[in-house]
Symmetry: C2
Subunit: 236 residues, 2 copies
DNA sequence: CAGTGGTCTAGACCACATA
DNA sequence: ATGTGGTCTAGACCACTGT
Protein backbone atom coordinates (compact mmCIF):
# COMPACT_ATOMS: atom_id res chain seq x y z
CA UNK A 1 0.00 0.00 0.00
CA UNK A 2 2.89 2.46 0.40
CA UNK A 3 3.02 4.76 -2.61
CA UNK A 4 5.40 3.65 -5.31
CA UNK A 5 7.44 6.80 -4.69
CA UNK A 6 8.35 7.18 -1.04
CA UNK A 7 8.94 10.63 0.36
CA UNK A 8 12.42 11.93 -0.46
CA UNK A 9 13.49 12.11 3.17
CA UNK A 10 12.41 8.50 3.52
CA UNK A 11 14.50 7.49 0.54
CA UNK A 12 17.54 9.16 2.03
CA UNK A 13 16.88 7.51 5.37
CA UNK A 14 16.47 4.12 3.85
CA UNK A 15 19.65 4.47 1.84
CA UNK A 16 21.60 5.26 4.99
CA UNK A 17 19.90 2.61 7.08
CA UNK A 18 20.62 -0.07 4.52
CA UNK A 19 24.22 1.00 4.30
CA UNK A 20 24.49 0.74 8.07
CA UNK A 21 22.85 -2.66 8.15
CA UNK A 22 25.13 -3.95 5.42
CA UNK A 23 28.24 -2.64 7.05
CA UNK A 24 29.00 -0.07 4.39
CA UNK A 25 29.91 2.24 7.25
CA UNK A 26 31.48 0.47 10.18
CA UNK A 27 30.82 1.70 13.69
CA UNK A 28 32.51 5.03 14.18
CA UNK A 29 33.09 5.62 10.48
CA UNK A 30 32.44 8.96 8.87
CA UNK A 31 29.25 9.01 6.86
CA UNK A 32 28.33 11.22 3.90
CA UNK A 33 27.90 14.88 4.72
CA UNK A 34 24.65 16.68 4.17
CA UNK A 35 26.07 18.37 1.10
CA UNK A 36 27.02 15.03 -0.46
CA UNK A 37 23.57 13.64 0.10
CA UNK A 38 21.99 16.77 -1.33
CA UNK A 39 24.00 16.23 -4.52
CA UNK A 40 23.37 12.51 -4.70
CA UNK A 41 19.62 12.64 -4.18
CA UNK A 42 19.02 16.04 -5.74
CA UNK A 43 16.93 17.23 -2.83
CA UNK A 44 17.20 20.27 -0.63
CA UNK A 45 19.37 20.35 2.42
CA UNK A 46 16.40 20.51 4.79
CA UNK A 47 15.31 17.17 3.45
CA UNK A 48 18.55 15.32 4.07
CA UNK A 49 18.85 17.14 7.36
CA UNK A 50 15.56 15.71 8.47
CA UNK A 51 16.60 12.21 7.45
CA UNK A 52 19.83 12.51 9.42
CA UNK A 53 18.15 14.05 12.45
CA UNK A 54 15.71 11.20 12.64
CA UNK A 55 18.47 8.62 12.36
CA UNK A 56 20.19 10.43 15.17
CA UNK A 57 17.14 10.34 17.41
CA UNK A 58 16.83 6.65 16.62
CA UNK A 59 20.34 6.18 17.89
CA UNK A 60 21.78 4.97 14.61
CA UNK A 61 24.16 7.82 13.95
CA UNK A 62 25.99 10.44 15.91
CA UNK A 63 26.34 13.96 14.66
CA UNK A 64 28.97 16.46 15.74
CA UNK A 65 28.70 20.04 14.71
CA UNK A 66 31.64 21.18 12.69
CA UNK A 67 32.89 17.63 12.23
CA UNK A 68 30.44 15.28 10.60
CA UNK A 69 28.07 12.38 10.96
CA UNK A 70 29.31 9.06 12.25
CA UNK A 71 27.92 5.54 12.30
CA UNK A 72 27.08 4.46 15.81
CA UNK A 73 27.80 1.05 17.14
CA UNK A 74 24.85 -0.59 18.75
CA UNK A 75 26.95 -1.30 21.78
CA UNK A 76 23.96 -1.53 24.01
CA UNK A 77 20.91 -3.45 23.01
CA UNK A 78 18.30 -1.08 24.24
CA UNK A 79 14.65 -1.56 23.84
CA UNK A 80 11.44 -0.08 24.98
CA UNK A 81 10.07 -2.17 27.75
CA UNK A 82 6.43 -1.56 28.33
CA UNK A 83 4.88 -2.16 31.68
CA UNK A 84 1.21 -1.94 31.04
CA UNK A 85 -1.94 -2.29 33.02
CA UNK A 86 -2.54 -5.87 34.15
CA UNK A 87 -6.15 -5.69 33.16
CA UNK A 88 -5.37 -4.74 29.57
CA UNK A 89 -2.58 -7.24 29.43
CA UNK A 90 -4.74 -10.15 30.47
CA UNK A 91 -7.61 -9.17 28.21
CA UNK A 92 -5.25 -8.80 25.28
CA UNK A 93 -4.39 -12.46 25.69
CA UNK A 94 -8.07 -13.24 25.44
CA UNK A 95 -8.23 -14.37 29.06
CA UNK A 96 -10.44 -13.38 31.94
CA UNK A 97 -9.29 -11.04 34.68
CA UNK A 98 -10.41 -11.10 38.27
CA UNK A 99 -9.19 -8.86 41.08
CA UNK A 100 -9.33 -9.90 44.72
CA UNK A 101 -9.09 -6.96 47.06
CA UNK A 102 -7.35 -7.99 50.26
CA UNK A 103 -6.84 -4.53 51.63
CA UNK A 104 -7.96 -0.98 50.82
CA UNK A 105 -7.56 1.51 53.59
CA UNK A 106 -5.89 4.60 54.93
CA UNK A 107 -2.95 4.00 57.24
CA UNK A 108 0.08 5.70 58.71
CA UNK A 109 3.15 5.76 56.52
CA UNK A 110 5.96 3.54 57.70
CA UNK A 111 9.47 4.89 57.51
CA UNK A 112 10.18 3.17 54.22
CA UNK A 113 6.89 4.09 52.60
CA UNK A 114 7.28 7.66 53.79
CA UNK A 115 10.71 7.81 52.22
CA UNK A 116 9.42 6.54 48.92
CA UNK A 117 6.58 9.05 48.77
CA UNK A 118 8.44 12.01 50.28
CA UNK A 119 6.15 12.03 53.31
CA UNK A 120 7.01 12.05 56.96
CA UNK A 121 6.54 8.77 58.86
CA UNK A 122 3.11 8.67 60.42
CA UNK A 123 1.40 10.76 57.75
CA UNK A 124 -1.70 9.28 56.20
CA UNK A 125 -1.31 7.17 53.05
CA UNK A 126 -3.67 5.00 51.07
CA UNK A 127 -2.72 1.37 50.87
CA UNK A 128 -4.24 -1.29 48.66
CA UNK A 129 -3.30 -4.92 48.25
CA UNK A 130 -4.88 -6.66 45.31
CA UNK A 131 -4.27 -10.05 43.77
CA UNK A 132 -4.91 -10.25 40.04
CA UNK A 133 -5.98 -13.56 38.56
CA UNK A 134 -5.76 -14.64 34.95
CA UNK A 135 -8.30 -17.32 34.14
CA UNK A 136 -8.58 -17.96 37.87
CA UNK A 137 -4.84 -18.33 38.46
CA UNK A 138 -3.01 -15.78 40.57
CA UNK A 139 -0.69 -13.80 38.33
CA UNK A 140 0.25 -10.76 40.36
CA UNK A 141 0.14 -9.48 43.91
CA UNK A 142 -0.03 -5.71 43.84
CA UNK A 143 0.89 -3.80 46.96
CA UNK A 144 0.38 -0.10 46.39
CA UNK A 145 0.79 3.04 48.42
CA UNK A 146 -0.74 6.27 47.17
CA UNK A 147 -0.03 9.84 48.17
CA UNK A 148 -3.43 11.24 49.25
CA UNK A 149 -2.47 14.71 48.10
CA UNK A 150 -2.27 13.48 44.53
CA UNK A 151 -5.39 11.32 44.44
CA UNK A 152 -7.70 12.25 47.33
CA UNK A 153 -10.55 10.00 46.22
CA UNK A 154 -8.40 6.98 45.44
CA UNK A 155 -10.18 4.74 47.93
CA UNK A 156 -13.64 5.64 46.63
CA UNK A 157 -13.40 3.09 43.83
CA UNK A 158 -14.43 -0.49 43.44
CA UNK A 159 -11.10 -2.17 42.86
CA UNK A 160 -12.74 -5.34 41.64
CA UNK A 161 -13.99 -3.37 38.65
CA UNK A 162 -11.20 -0.96 37.90
CA UNK A 163 -7.46 -1.27 38.49
CA UNK A 164 -5.43 1.22 40.50
CA UNK A 165 -3.39 1.92 37.39
CA UNK A 166 -6.48 3.01 35.52
CA UNK A 167 -7.67 5.18 38.39
CA UNK A 168 -4.34 6.91 38.77
CA UNK A 169 -3.84 7.50 35.08
CA UNK A 170 -7.22 9.13 34.93
CA UNK A 171 -6.83 11.30 37.99
CA UNK A 172 -3.20 12.32 37.97
CA UNK A 173 -0.67 13.67 35.54
CA UNK A 174 2.16 11.22 35.25
CA UNK A 175 5.45 12.95 34.74
CA UNK A 176 8.17 10.52 35.57
CA UNK A 177 8.58 6.95 36.69
CA UNK A 178 11.46 4.91 37.99
CA UNK A 179 11.45 1.19 38.42
CA UNK A 180 13.58 -1.80 38.97
CA UNK A 181 13.14 -5.46 38.26
CA UNK A 182 14.52 -8.22 40.39
CA UNK A 183 14.12 -11.86 41.20
CA UNK A 184 13.44 -12.79 44.78
CA UNK A 185 11.37 -14.96 47.05
CA UNK A 186 7.89 -13.82 47.97
CA UNK A 187 7.14 -12.72 51.50
CA UNK A 188 5.18 -15.25 53.49
CA UNK A 189 2.03 -13.24 52.97
CA UNK A 190 2.58 -12.96 49.23
CA UNK A 191 3.21 -16.68 48.96
CA UNK A 192 -0.07 -17.37 50.67
CA UNK A 193 -2.05 -14.89 48.57
CA UNK A 194 -0.53 -16.17 45.34
CA UNK A 195 -0.83 -19.80 46.33
CA UNK A 196 2.82 -20.59 45.72
CA UNK A 197 5.65 -22.13 47.71
CA UNK A 198 7.55 -19.89 50.12
CA UNK A 199 10.76 -20.33 48.16
CA UNK A 200 9.28 -20.08 44.69
CA UNK A 201 11.23 -17.60 42.57
CA UNK A 202 9.26 -14.46 41.80
CA UNK A 203 9.72 -11.65 39.34
CA UNK A 204 9.33 -8.44 41.30
CA UNK A 205 8.78 -5.04 39.72
CA UNK A 206 9.04 -2.04 42.00
CA UNK A 207 7.90 1.22 40.51
CA UNK A 208 7.47 4.76 41.71
CA UNK A 209 5.68 7.38 39.68
CA UNK A 210 5.73 11.13 40.02
CA UNK A 211 3.72 14.11 38.93
CA UNK A 212 5.42 17.43 38.44
CA UNK A 213 4.68 18.22 42.05
CA UNK A 214 5.86 15.07 43.73
CA UNK A 215 5.44 11.33 44.22
CA UNK A 216 2.09 9.85 43.29
CA UNK A 217 2.45 6.21 44.11
CA UNK A 218 4.84 3.41 44.95
CA UNK A 219 3.98 -0.12 43.96
CA UNK A 220 5.43 -3.56 44.40
CA UNK A 221 4.27 -6.13 41.85
CA UNK A 222 5.10 -9.73 42.66
CA UNK A 223 4.66 -12.39 39.98
CA UNK A 224 5.22 -16.13 40.29
CA UNK A 225 8.28 -16.82 38.16
CA UNK A 226 6.66 -19.64 36.27
CA UNK A 227 3.61 -17.64 35.29
CA UNK A 228 5.00 -14.34 34.17
CA UNK A 229 7.64 -13.00 31.86
CA UNK A 230 8.63 -9.62 30.50
CA UNK A 231 9.30 -9.52 26.81
CA UNK A 232 10.86 -7.05 24.49
CA UNK A 233 12.26 -6.52 21.09
CA UNK A 234 14.78 -4.24 19.55
CA UNK A 235 15.00 -3.35 15.88
CA UNK A 236 16.49 -0.33 14.17
CA UNK B 1 25.06 27.24 30.10
CA UNK B 2 22.22 27.03 27.58
CA UNK B 3 21.90 30.31 25.75
CA UNK B 4 19.43 32.72 27.26
CA UNK B 5 17.35 32.41 24.12
CA UNK B 6 16.53 28.83 23.32
CA UNK B 7 15.89 27.85 19.73
CA UNK B 8 12.35 28.71 18.61
CA UNK B 9 11.36 25.11 18.00
CA UNK B 10 12.54 24.34 21.52
CA UNK B 11 10.39 27.11 22.94
CA UNK B 12 7.35 25.77 21.15
CA UNK B 13 8.12 22.27 22.34
CA UNK B 14 8.58 23.36 25.90
CA UNK B 15 5.35 25.33 25.88
CA UNK B 16 3.46 22.25 24.74
CA UNK B 17 5.27 19.90 27.08
CA UNK B 18 4.55 22.07 30.08
CA UNK B 19 0.92 22.33 29.11
CA UNK B 20 0.73 18.56 28.91
CA UNK B 21 2.45 18.11 32.24
CA UNK B 22 0.13 20.60 33.88
CA UNK B 23 -2.95 19.04 32.44
CA UNK B 24 -3.86 21.98 30.25
CA UNK B 25 -4.72 19.39 27.63
CA UNK B 26 -6.17 16.23 29.07
CA UNK B 27 -5.46 12.92 27.40
CA UNK B 28 -7.23 12.80 24.06
CA UNK B 29 -7.93 16.53 23.95
CA UNK B 30 -7.38 18.55 20.83
CA UNK B 31 -4.24 20.64 20.96
CA UNK B 32 -3.44 23.87 19.11
CA UNK B 33 -3.08 23.52 15.38
CA UNK B 34 0.12 24.39 13.59
CA UNK B 35 -1.43 27.61 12.33
CA UNK B 36 -2.34 28.72 15.85
CA UNK B 37 1.17 28.07 17.09
CA UNK B 38 2.64 29.93 14.13
CA UNK B 39 0.58 32.95 15.10
CA UNK B 40 1.29 32.68 18.82
CA UNK B 41 5.04 32.31 18.53
CA UNK B 42 5.52 34.27 15.33
CA UNK B 43 7.64 31.60 13.74
CA UNK B 44 7.36 29.80 10.46
CA UNK B 45 5.26 26.73 10.05
CA UNK B 46 8.28 24.47 9.52
CA UNK B 47 9.43 25.42 12.98
CA UNK B 48 6.24 24.49 14.81
CA UNK B 49 5.97 21.44 12.61
CA UNK B 50 9.32 20.25 13.82
CA UNK B 51 8.34 20.79 17.44
CA UNK B 52 5.15 18.80 16.96
CA UNK B 53 6.86 16.03 15.02
CA UNK B 54 9.38 15.56 17.78
CA UNK B 55 6.68 15.44 20.42
CA UNK B 56 4.99 12.82 18.33
CA UNK B 57 8.09 10.68 18.07
CA UNK B 58 8.47 11.02 21.82
CA UNK B 59 5.00 9.60 22.18
CA UNK B 60 3.51 12.67 23.84
CA UNK B 61 1.04 13.63 21.14
CA UNK B 62 -0.78 11.94 18.35
CA UNK B 63 -1.26 13.61 15.00
CA UNK B 64 -3.92 12.79 12.48
CA UNK B 65 -3.78 14.27 9.04
CA UNK B 66 -6.82 16.29 8.23
CA UNK B 67 -7.97 16.28 11.83
CA UNK B 68 -5.50 17.67 14.30
CA UNK B 69 -3.03 17.04 17.08
CA UNK B 70 -4.16 15.30 20.25
CA UNK B 71 -2.68 14.85 23.70
CA UNK B 72 -1.74 11.27 24.31
CA UNK B 73 -2.36 9.50 27.54
CA UNK B 74 0.66 7.84 28.99
CA UNK B 75 -1.33 4.70 29.45
CA UNK B 76 1.69 2.53 29.35
CA UNK B 77 4.78 3.36 31.29
CA UNK B 78 7.34 2.47 28.74
CA UNK B 79 10.98 3.00 29.11
CA UNK B 80 14.12 2.13 27.32
CA UNK B 81 15.68 -0.79 29.05
CA UNK B 82 19.32 -1.12 28.24
CA UNK B 83 21.03 -4.43 28.39
CA UNK B 84 24.67 -3.62 28.14
CA UNK B 85 27.91 -5.48 28.18
CA UNK B 86 28.71 -6.97 31.59
CA UNK B 87 32.26 -5.82 31.39
CA UNK B 88 31.33 -2.18 30.86
CA UNK B 89 28.62 -2.41 33.45
CA UNK B 90 30.93 -3.68 36.16
CA UNK B 91 33.70 -1.23 35.32
CA UNK B 92 31.21 1.65 35.36
CA UNK B 93 30.53 0.81 38.98
CA UNK B 94 34.21 1.11 39.65
CA UNK B 95 34.55 -2.58 40.36
CA UNK B 96 36.82 -5.26 39.00
CA UNK B 97 35.67 -7.76 36.43
CA UNK B 98 36.92 -11.30 36.04
CA UNK B 99 35.69 -13.90 33.57
CA UNK B 100 36.00 -17.62 34.22
CA UNK B 101 35.72 -19.65 31.05
CA UNK B 102 34.16 -23.02 31.78
CA UNK B 103 33.54 -24.03 28.22
CA UNK B 104 34.49 -22.79 24.74
CA UNK B 105 34.07 -25.31 21.99
CA UNK B 106 32.33 -26.38 18.85
CA UNK B 107 29.51 -28.86 19.30
CA UNK B 108 26.47 -30.27 17.59
CA UNK B 109 23.31 -28.20 17.88
CA UNK B 110 20.63 -29.70 20.04
CA UNK B 111 17.07 -29.53 18.86
CA UNK B 112 16.30 -26.45 20.95
CA UNK B 113 19.51 -24.60 20.09
CA UNK B 114 19.01 -25.43 16.42
CA UNK B 115 15.53 -23.99 16.56
CA UNK B 116 16.75 -20.78 18.15
CA UNK B 117 19.46 -20.27 15.56
CA UNK B 118 17.55 -21.55 12.53
CA UNK B 119 19.94 -24.45 12.09
CA UNK B 120 19.21 -28.13 11.72
CA UNK B 121 19.88 -30.33 14.74
CA UNK B 122 23.36 -31.77 14.56
CA UNK B 123 24.89 -28.83 12.71
CA UNK B 124 28.00 -27.30 14.22
CA UNK B 125 27.59 -24.41 16.66
CA UNK B 126 29.98 -22.59 18.95
CA UNK B 127 29.16 -22.82 22.61
CA UNK B 128 30.72 -20.82 25.43
CA UNK B 129 29.91 -20.86 29.11
CA UNK B 130 31.46 -18.06 31.10
CA UNK B 131 30.93 -16.89 34.66
CA UNK B 132 31.44 -13.18 35.22
CA UNK B 133 32.60 -12.02 38.63
CA UNK B 134 32.29 -8.56 40.10
CA UNK B 135 34.91 -7.95 42.75
CA UNK B 136 35.35 -11.69 42.99
CA UNK B 137 31.65 -12.48 43.43
CA UNK B 138 29.79 -14.39 40.73
CA UNK B 139 27.30 -12.05 39.09
CA UNK B 140 26.32 -13.77 35.89
CA UNK B 141 26.50 -17.14 34.23
CA UNK B 142 26.50 -16.68 30.48
CA UNK B 143 25.63 -19.61 28.29
CA UNK B 144 25.97 -18.64 24.66
CA UNK B 145 25.50 -20.34 21.34
CA UNK B 146 26.86 -18.69 18.22
CA UNK B 147 26.03 -19.34 14.60
CA UNK B 148 29.41 -20.13 12.96
CA UNK B 149 28.27 -18.68 9.66
CA UNK B 150 28.01 -15.25 11.27
CA UNK B 151 31.20 -15.29 13.31
CA UNK B 152 33.56 -17.96 11.99
CA UNK B 153 36.48 -17.00 14.23
CA UNK B 154 34.42 -16.60 17.40
CA UNK B 155 36.37 -19.25 19.29
CA UNK B 156 39.77 -17.72 18.41
CA UNK B 157 39.52 -15.22 21.25
CA UNK B 158 40.69 -15.15 24.81
CA UNK B 159 37.40 -14.90 26.67
CA UNK B 160 39.14 -13.96 29.88
CA UNK B 161 40.19 -10.71 28.20
CA UNK B 162 37.27 -9.83 25.98
CA UNK B 163 33.58 -10.60 26.37
CA UNK B 164 31.52 -12.43 23.76
CA UNK B 165 29.34 -9.34 23.47
CA UNK B 166 32.32 -7.24 22.47
CA UNK B 167 33.51 -9.82 19.96
CA UNK B 168 30.14 -10.16 18.34
CA UNK B 169 29.49 -6.45 18.15
CA UNK B 170 32.79 -6.00 16.41
CA UNK B 171 32.44 -8.86 13.95
CA UNK B 172 28.76 -8.86 13.09
CA UNK B 173 26.08 -6.40 12.10
CA UNK B 174 23.34 -6.47 14.67
CA UNK B 175 19.97 -5.91 13.11
CA UNK B 176 17.39 -7.09 15.55
CA UNK B 177 17.14 -8.58 19.00
CA UNK B 178 14.39 -10.22 20.99
CA UNK B 179 14.56 -11.04 24.65
CA UNK B 180 12.58 -11.99 27.64
CA UNK B 181 13.14 -11.66 31.34
CA UNK B 182 11.96 -14.14 33.90
CA UNK B 183 12.55 -15.30 37.43
CA UNK B 184 13.42 -18.94 37.93
CA UNK B 185 15.64 -21.32 39.77
CA UNK B 186 19.09 -21.97 38.40
CA UNK B 187 19.94 -25.32 36.90
CA UNK B 188 22.08 -27.49 39.11
CA UNK B 189 25.11 -26.63 37.06
CA UNK B 190 24.42 -22.90 37.20
CA UNK B 191 23.92 -23.05 40.96
CA UNK B 192 27.30 -24.70 41.33
CA UNK B 193 29.09 -22.27 39.02
CA UNK B 194 27.52 -19.25 40.70
CA UNK B 195 27.99 -20.61 44.20
CA UNK B 196 24.36 -20.24 45.18
CA UNK B 197 21.68 -22.51 46.60
CA UNK B 198 19.78 -24.75 44.21
CA UNK B 199 16.51 -22.99 44.97
CA UNK B 200 17.84 -19.42 45.03
CA UNK B 201 15.72 -17.13 42.88
CA UNK B 202 17.53 -15.97 39.76
CA UNK B 203 16.86 -13.25 37.24
CA UNK B 204 17.20 -14.83 33.82
CA UNK B 205 17.54 -12.88 30.61
CA UNK B 206 17.24 -14.83 27.37
CA UNK B 207 18.20 -12.97 24.27
CA UNK B 208 18.53 -13.75 20.60
CA UNK B 209 20.14 -11.40 18.13
CA UNK B 210 19.94 -11.36 14.38
CA UNK B 211 21.80 -9.87 11.46
CA UNK B 212 19.96 -9.09 8.27
CA UNK B 213 20.80 -12.60 7.07
CA UNK B 214 19.79 -14.62 10.07
CA UNK B 215 20.38 -15.48 13.72
CA UNK B 216 23.74 -14.59 15.17
CA UNK B 217 23.57 -15.80 18.72
CA UNK B 218 21.33 -17.01 21.50
CA UNK B 219 22.30 -16.37 25.08
CA UNK B 220 21.00 -17.22 28.52
CA UNK B 221 22.16 -14.92 31.29
CA UNK B 222 21.52 -16.14 34.80
CA UNK B 223 21.97 -13.74 37.73
CA UNK B 224 21.59 -14.47 41.42
CA UNK B 225 18.49 -12.56 42.46
CA UNK B 226 20.14 -10.92 45.41
CA UNK B 227 23.08 -9.61 43.40
CA UNK B 228 21.51 -8.21 40.30
CA UNK B 229 18.72 -5.87 39.32
CA UNK B 230 17.53 -4.21 36.15
CA UNK B 231 16.74 -0.56 36.50
CA UNK B 232 14.99 1.93 34.34
CA UNK B 233 13.45 5.30 34.23
CA UNK B 234 10.81 6.97 32.22
CA UNK B 235 10.40 10.69 31.72
CA UNK B 236 8.73 12.67 28.95
C1' DC C 1 -15.59 23.61 0.95
C1' DA C 2 -12.20 24.97 4.70
C1' DG C 3 -9.06 23.28 7.99
C1' DT C 4 -5.70 20.02 9.17
C1' DG C 5 -1.21 17.82 8.89
C1' DG C 6 2.82 15.89 5.45
C1' DT C 7 6.29 17.37 2.89
C1' DC C 8 9.48 20.00 0.00
C1' DT C 9 12.35 24.02 -1.60
C1' DA C 10 16.12 27.53 -2.13
C1' DG C 11 18.06 30.25 0.17
C1' DA C 12 20.02 32.20 4.59
C1' DC C 13 22.81 33.02 9.03
C1' DC C 14 25.10 30.95 12.74
C1' DA C 15 28.39 28.05 15.74
C1' DC C 16 31.85 25.01 15.68
C1' DA C 17 36.05 22.27 14.32
C1' DT C 18 40.07 21.58 11.65
C1' DA C 19 43.86 22.80 9.00
C1' DA D 1 39.40 29.70 5.21
C1' DT D 2 36.77 25.81 4.51
C1' DG D 3 33.59 22.39 5.62
C1' DT D 4 30.55 20.63 8.92
C1' DG D 5 26.07 20.52 11.27
C1' DG D 6 21.99 23.58 13.68
C1' DT D 7 18.40 26.24 12.63
C1' DC D 8 15.08 29.38 10.45
C1' DT D 9 12.08 31.39 6.73
C1' DA D 10 8.21 32.19 3.40
C1' DG D 11 6.21 30.19 0.48
C1' DA D 12 4.36 26.04 -1.95
C1' DC D 13 1.69 21.63 -3.27
C1' DC D 14 -0.50 17.68 -1.66
C1' DA D 15 -3.61 14.27 0.94
C1' DC D 16 -6.82 13.76 4.14
C1' DT D 17 -10.97 14.89 7.10
C1' DG D 18 -15.27 16.77 8.28
C1' DT D 19 -19.22 19.76 7.23
Amino acid sequence: MPPATAAPYQRVKQYLKQGLARGRWAAGALMPSEAELVARFEVSRMTVNRALRELQSEGLVERVQGVGTFARSLDAVSSTLTISDVHEEILSRGHSHEARVHLAREEEASVSVAAQLSLTPGERVFHTRIVHLENGVALQCEDRWVNPAEAPDYLQHDFTQVTPTQILFASTQLWRAVYHIEASRPTRLEARLLGIAANAPCLVVVRRTFSRIGPITAVRLVHPGDRYMLQGEFAP
